[in-house]
């Protein structure tokens, strides 16, 4: 009971409630189906972003390969939808009716054995989470048990992203290659392309995302969350205290992978296709940027980050088709220079004190677990200091996080 009381007392819950109102009431009322569907798509990146908050912000492990898990989740869902769309009736023009079109183009004459289970929706839902988590476990167990960490781990995740892209593109008879899996139509007979379906899927995505945020918040406030923070700041001390550091990191990595995968599956449902362009290095780094813009210590902030960056992308590219890449770059650089803790940091350092001054009242909050604002401890996380050039913006953020809040 005590734990629940502390938990409710956190200011975190208020910001989650605001986000819920925004996602479930304001957006649906203010936007037409087309825009709402776009927001739904952005929210699927929100899953990746909150996974990164847990992994990078709390666990101190930077992964530049979250696209792998996003992609695997998305592909698992796409395989199910593709099989459903490839019934013998609608594929009778092919040499082998009843198999996905890209298999037919690549001279496959029967469905590969490992595709068979994806005829079952139950198995697909299981695979959406299980396959990415299994891969995440293998990678992270192998790395963290050998105490490979920091920049080396980030590079390895990049390599995995590259490997998976090459594999998917190379095995086009089984995966659809560069084109990906397209023309997905129905989910168990339910047409996912209609406006009603898109609206429903939006609410489903938003609800799942809020659920995921609550789960992560709960983890943050538990002893596990405290341990993750402690590990990030002084890994050796935690190890000397008798904890198996590597397994906590493995947990954080698997959690982030599972969240990304759910995002990927929801993405496939809303967008209607999956392609290797979500798996590679560039989208993976972009996903880190979502978290960085939003604030890597704040779950809610990360969702706003994903929304803002993608809104920016859509708005700039529609309004200034020739200039939009420069404007996006300006947005990234601007946020990193002006608000090194991201949007959430901006809130914590400016809005909150201002509110507090107005109220003339002490900020609520108990003792015990660290609230996100005060959590960035003096010792900087090791990762951002030494990341590769690809992650330079994030490195800047990381370095400044510690110096500012110290």
């Amino acid at each position: 009971m005590d734990a629940i009381k502390t938990w409710l007392g956190r200011s975190g819950l208020a910001s989650i409630a605001i986000l819920a109102v925004l996602l479930l009431v304001v957006f649906p009322l203010a936007m037409d189906t087309f825009r709402l569907n776009l927001v739904g798509k952005y929210l699927t990146y929100g899953f990746v972003a909150i996974g990164l908050v847990m992994l990078w912000g709390y666990g101190g492990v930077l992964s530049l390969g979250q696209g792998v898990f996003f992609g695997l989740g998305g592909y698992a869902m796409a395989m199910f939808l593709k099989l459903e769309a490839s019934d013998p009736e609608s594929t009778k023009i092919q040499s082998t009716p009843g198999i996905p079109d890209f298999m037919d183009w690549n001279q496959l004459t029967e469905l590969p054995l490992w595709w068979e289970p994806f005829n079952s929706f139950g198995f697909t839902l299981f695979a959406v989470v299980a396959v990415p988590v299994l891969l995440a476990f293998i990678i992270s167990y192998a790395m963290f048990k050998r105490r490979v960490g920091g920049v080396y781990f980030a590079i390895i995740t990049q390599a995995v992203a590259l490997i998976l892209t090459v594999l998917i593109i190379g095995q086009q008879g089984y995966t659809g290659g560069v084109n990906g899996m397209t023309d997905l139509k129905t989910l168990m007979g339910w047409d996912i392309r209609t406006d009603e379906a898109k609206t429903l899927l939006y609410f489903l995505t938003a609800a799942l995302l809020l659920g995921a945020i609550l789960l992560c918040r709960w983890i943050q406030l538990s002893k596990l969350g405290t341990l993750l923070l402690a590990m990030r700041d002084k890994e050796d001390r935690v190890r000397f205290s008798g904890y198996d550091v590597s397994m906590f990191k493995v947990f954080a990595f698997c959690l982030a992978a599972a969240l990304s995968a759910i995002g990927g599956a929801m993405f496939t449902l809303q967008v209607g296709f999956m392609s290797p362009s979500f798996v590679g290095i560039v989208p993976s780094i972009e996903m880190v940027i979502f978290a960085a813009v939003g604030g890597r210590m704040s779950l809610v902030g990360a969702v706003y980050g994903a929304l803002l960056v993608n809104f920016g992308k859509t708005y700039f590219s529609e309004t200034f088709p020739d200039l939009w890449l420069f404007l996006m770059a300006a947005l990234f650089i601007g946020v990193v220079m002006a608000f090194p803790n991201g949007l959430a940091g901006l809130y914590e350092s400016h809005v909150k004190p201002w509110l507090a001054r107005r109220k003339q009242a002490p900020a609520p909050g108990g003792t015990g677990g660290e609230p996100p604002s005060a959590s960035a401890a003096p010792a900087a996380p090791t990762v951002p200091h030494t990341t590769t050039s690809a992650a330079v913006p994030t490195a800047g953020i990381g370095a400044k996080v510690s110096s500012q809040s110290a």
Partner: protein, 416 residues
């Protein structure tokens, strides 16, 4: 040549030199078209007013594909400008909404939805890679949009909502192989391509044609990942196999490395016969004429084609985009899009997608730079195939042309 197709009723004041501009057939309806009220030509809520019709253009202006797609963007814009200068379509000027697909397939999907759902465009000219077309296709079918797709591609597709102005695979391959056998005595053929759907499908068709119809032999078939730049092992295999003909469909950046390394290994146009499906004037800029000299390319259009339509087109293009600009096969196919749409709209007397689609089969364009083209029932174009030899200065010399228009056959029997 186009003079005889000018509309008899001279409703419009033609600009100087307009006779050289391509003009569609479907003349009979053109004269009184301007009188048509908007309510009549637009019954499905498209963005059409009394003076204006809005169309979309969806290519990659940024990203890796920008270098290839820029030519298409320019050609479509040129055609639209020319149509507007002639008075537009059904008395309405064309306004273009440009969207950037950014070489990213999901972005293509998002933008196509935006164009169709939000902007209600009457048609879209766009896409270049098959992947981007596959990404937008379900959206065009769902929203009942209309897409003019310019690139030569693998076939195996036919949609009510797409007009394919490039060649499907058989139109590009079969004539080239027949010519290679007849003129160059090609019996032993080595197939090489980048590893994705278009080269794979093309080589499948080529192999079936060589083995089943020509009695020749395929002595090697190799694929390399997109972006691969190391062809040493391939060159060794070619040296061992000693083919009469290298049949190539290597694309993008790999192309440059491929031809440079062939030359470095002593495999030059003087010693080895090579026929490719993937080198146009655009690629030639990157490869360099000296590396491609003497090799052959199979396309439906080359900038050096000697006919009146093409001369006018090349002149207009260079005037608009500078004397150094080059026109490749796809650029010309993209140029056809707005003209074919204009002809179909005028034949239908309406901008409604269903009516334009219904009017499209049988539309003829005698003034196309590539020569006469016509839309088949299956939404592809009848067109000729041409073989040209690369010259040291980076131009192409046309050496052969199919005597007849080749019927498009996106689902070729016997080649599946």
């Amino acid at each position: 040549m186009s003079d005889k197709h000018l509309p008899s009723s001279s409703r419009r004041t033609f600009m100087l030199g307009a006779a050289a501009l391509p003009l569609a057939l479907a003349i009979s309806r053109m004269g009184h078209a301007a009188a048509l009220p908007t309510a009549q030509v637009n019954t499905t809520g498209l963005a059409v007013t009394d003076t204006e019709v809005v169309v979309g253009q969806l290519h990659s202006a940024t990203g890796t594909m920008a270098i290839s797609e820029t030519g298409s963007i320019q050609a479509e814009q040129l055609a639209i400008d020319q149509i507007n200068a002639m008075g537009g379509i059904l008395g309405r000027k064309i306004r273009v909404i440009k969207e950037d697909g950014a070489s990213d397939w999901p972005t293509f999907a998002e933008k196509s939805r935006k164009l169709l759902v939000n902007d209600k465009v009457a048609t879209v000219f766009g896409c270049w890679t098959s992947a981007s077309r596959k990404a937008v296709l379900p959206i065009f079918e769902k929203e009942n949009g209309l897409l003019y797709y310019p690139t030569f591609y693998e076939g195996l597709e036919q949609s009510k909502n797409v007009i394919y102005t490039g060649q499907e695979a058989t139109q590009q391959i079969l004539y080239g192989l027949d010519w290679a056998k007849k003129e160059k005595g090609a019996q032993k053929v080595f197939l090489v391509g980048s590893d994705y759907i278009w080269p794979r499908t093309s080589m499948k068709i080529a192999r079936k044609h060589i083995e089943n119809f020509q009695g020749g032999k395929v002595v090697g078939e190799e694929y390399y990942p997109l972006g691969n730049t190391n062809f040493n092992s391939l060159i060794n295999k070619i040296k061992i196999a000693k083919p009469d003909c290298i049949f190539a469909a290597v694309v993008g950046g790999s192309n440059v490395a491929f031809y440079k390394q062939l030359k470095a290994a002593g495999i030059t146009g003087a010693k080895q016969f090579l026929l490719t499906l993937s080198v146009t004037e655009d690629e030639m800029l990157g490869i360099g004429g000296e590396n491609f000299e003497g090799f052959y390319s199979s396309m439906k259009y080359f900038q050096s084609l000697d006919n009146e339509n093409n001369k006018a087109f090349v002149e207009a293009f260079k005037k608009a985009y500078g004397p150094k600009s080059v026109i490749g096969d796809v650029t010309q196919a993209a140029y056809l899009g707005p003209w074919l749409w204009k002809a179909a709209v005028e034949k239908a007397g309406s901008f409604d997608v269903d009516k334009v689609v219904a009017a499209s089969p049988g539309i003829e364009l005698p003034t196309a730079p590539e020569g006469y083209v016509k839309i088949h029932e299956n939404h592809h174009l009848y067109s000729k195939a041409r073989i040209a030899q690369g010259q040291a200065d980076g131009t192409f010399k046309v050496v052969a042309e199919s005597p007849e228009l080749i019927v498009p056959d996106p689902f070729p029997k016997g080649y599946q």
